[in-house]
Amino acid sequence: MAGLSLSNLKKTYGKVEVIKDVDLEIGHGEFVVFVGPSGCGKSTLLRMIAGLEDITGGELRIGDKIVNQVQPRDRGVAMVFQSYALYPHMTVYDNVGFGLRLNKTPKDVRDRKIREAAQILQMEHLLDRKPAQLSGGQRQRVAIGRAIVRQPEVFLFDEPLSNLDAALRMDMRMEISKLHQELGATMIYVTHDQVEAMTLADKIVVLNAGVVQQVGSPLELYNRPANLFVAGFIGSPKMNMVEVSVETAGANAIDISGPAIGRLSLATEASGIVLGDKMTLGIRPHDFQQVPEGPFKGTVTLVEHLGNETMVSLKLANGEAMIAALDGDTTCAIGETVSLDFNRDKVHLFDSGGQRRG
C-alpha cells in the first residue's frame, strides 16, 4: 500500500533553493493538503512527487520504494492539473481511456473501466464529446476521470478547482471528498483556498518559502499554530497580533503589558519565559466579545454585517488595527468607541523568534 515518505527533499533552480529540506510522512489513504502563499513551492513539491521535476537532493519514497530516479509512469501516481490538460483531439472516452490504452489493457476491460469512471463522475452522456465542447466543470470531471480510471495508489491535485466558479467549486469539493472515501487512495492536494484545505484535509502541510511550517490536522493548525506564520495564514479573518512584553513570569501564569492592552494576567504552562521577554499575543477575531469595560478599546473604522456575525474593524488608541467577529445583531457605528474582551483560554503566545510558547 502506498504511503509516501519525503526526507530532506530539496529542489534548486540554478542557485535558487525552492524546496528546502522537506521532511514529511504521508500515510496510506490520507488526504493531505499543501497550502501556502503563492510561490512558496507547493506545485514544485507536488511535481517532484509526480516525477515531473528532478529531485535535487534527499529521498522520496512511494510505498517502500525509493523513486527519485523512477519515471512518472512507473510511480503509480495520477495527477489532475489546474488547466485540466485534456487531449484536445480525443473524445472524452479516449481521454479517459488513454492510460489504459497505453498499458495495453484489453479492450473490453478498458471499456468497462471507462464506463465505470464515467458513472462515478456522472458524465456518461459526455463520452463522445471533444474537450472543446465541454464546460469548465465538465472538463474537470474528465480530468478526474482520467486519473481514477488507472487506479493509481496516489492522486495528485494541483489547484484543480481554481478555474471554477464558487458554486461549482463547492460541488466539486464535495465530490472529491466523496471520491476519497470511495477509493481509499492517498490524495495530495494543492490549494491556496483555506476553505478547501480545512474541509478536505486529514492533514494540512503549511509551506512558506520552501520550508514546512507545520503539519497537522485542520483543527490542530487552527487551535495551536506552531508559529506566527501559520497563525497568520490559517483562519479568516486573520488572527490579531499584539506586541507585548513580560512583566512577571510565574510557574503557571504571567503578566504581560503592551501599548495596546495595558497590563494583563494570563494563565500559561509555558516554561522558560522570563521577565522582559518580548512576545506576540495572538487573538482570533472570533474570540472577542463586546464588553462595557475591557482590555481593548478602539474606534470603529468598518462594520460588515454578514448576518450570522458582524465583522468590526477597530483602530486602537496606539494606532494598531484589530478585527473582531461579534454577534450578528451587534449594532455599532463607524466612529463609535467600543470595548472588547477576549477568551483567555484561547490566546496564542509567540516568542520573539515567532515560535509558539503557549
Binding site: A50, P72, R73, M79, A85, P88, F98, G99
Partner: protein
Amino acid sequence: MAAVAPTNQRLKTSLRYLLLVLVGAVFIFPIIFMVVSSLKPDGQLLRDTASIRAFLPVGDISLDNYFAAFKRAPVGLFVFNSLLVTGITVIGSLFLCSMAAFAFAFLEFKGKEIVLSLIIATLIIPFETIAVPMLMVVNSLPSIGPDGLTWGWLNSYQVQIVPFLADALTIFLFVQYFRDLPKELIEAARLDGARWFQVYSLVIVPISGPVFATAAILKFLAMYNQYLWPLMVTQSEQFRPVMVGLQYFFQLNTAWGEVMAYLSLITLPVLAFYLFLQRAFIASIASTGIKG
C-alpha cells in the same frame, strides 16, 4: 452615425475586395498566360504578347506543343523523378525535423540551447556557398548497389534526397509551434504512461496539423524547384528532375510554346499538392480546436 456607418462600411469592403482582386490578378495572370500560350504556335504566341490576346485562348489553338514537348524530352520521367525525390524528402523531413523539434521543445539535455542556436544560425548560409563542399562529400560516400560496394553518390536518387532530409527552417517552424503548446499536455501524457515517442506520436503530432501542413508546403516547393544541386549531381538523364529538364527546351532556338506546355505540365502537381494540403489544414484545425 447608424445611418452613415453601413455605406461607409460597404465602401470600405468594396475597396478591400478590389485590392484583393488586383493582387489576385497579379498572381493569376502569369499562370493564365502560361497555359494559354502553351496552346498556341510560336509565331502567334509572340505576336499576341503585345495585346490582351496574350491571356485569351484565341486563334490557332491546339495541343501540338504538348506532343512536341513529350517528343523532345522524357517529361514523364522528369516529373516522376521530381515527385519521387520531393515526396520522400517531404515525408522524411517532416518526420525527422518534427522529432528534432520535439526534443528541443520538450526534453531537457545539456547544450540544448547552444545546439538549437547553431542549427538556426545555418539559416543565413546560402546554399551556393556550401554546394561545392557538399558535392565533395557526397562524391566520397559509399553506396551498395547491384555492383556491390561503390564510392560516390553521383547520379542517384539518394544524392538528391539525403542532404535535404533535415533543414533548419523546418526544425525552427516546428520548435516555434511546439513551444506554444501547453506543457501540461505532455506531462499528463507522461503520467498516463506514455513513453517519449508515444507522447510525440499520440499527443503532439495529432494536434500539430497546421504546422505540418505549413512545413510540408514550404518543403515541397523548395524541393520541387531544386535546380542547382540536381544539375551538379546528376549527369545522366535517368535521375534528373523537372527543373533541370527545362534545359532541353532552351537548346539552339527556344521553342516557347513547348516551354509553356512543359511548364504547365510541371505546375500541375504543385497545384494538386497545395489544394490537398489546404483541405487537410482546415480539417485539422476544425477537428482539434487548436488554432494555428
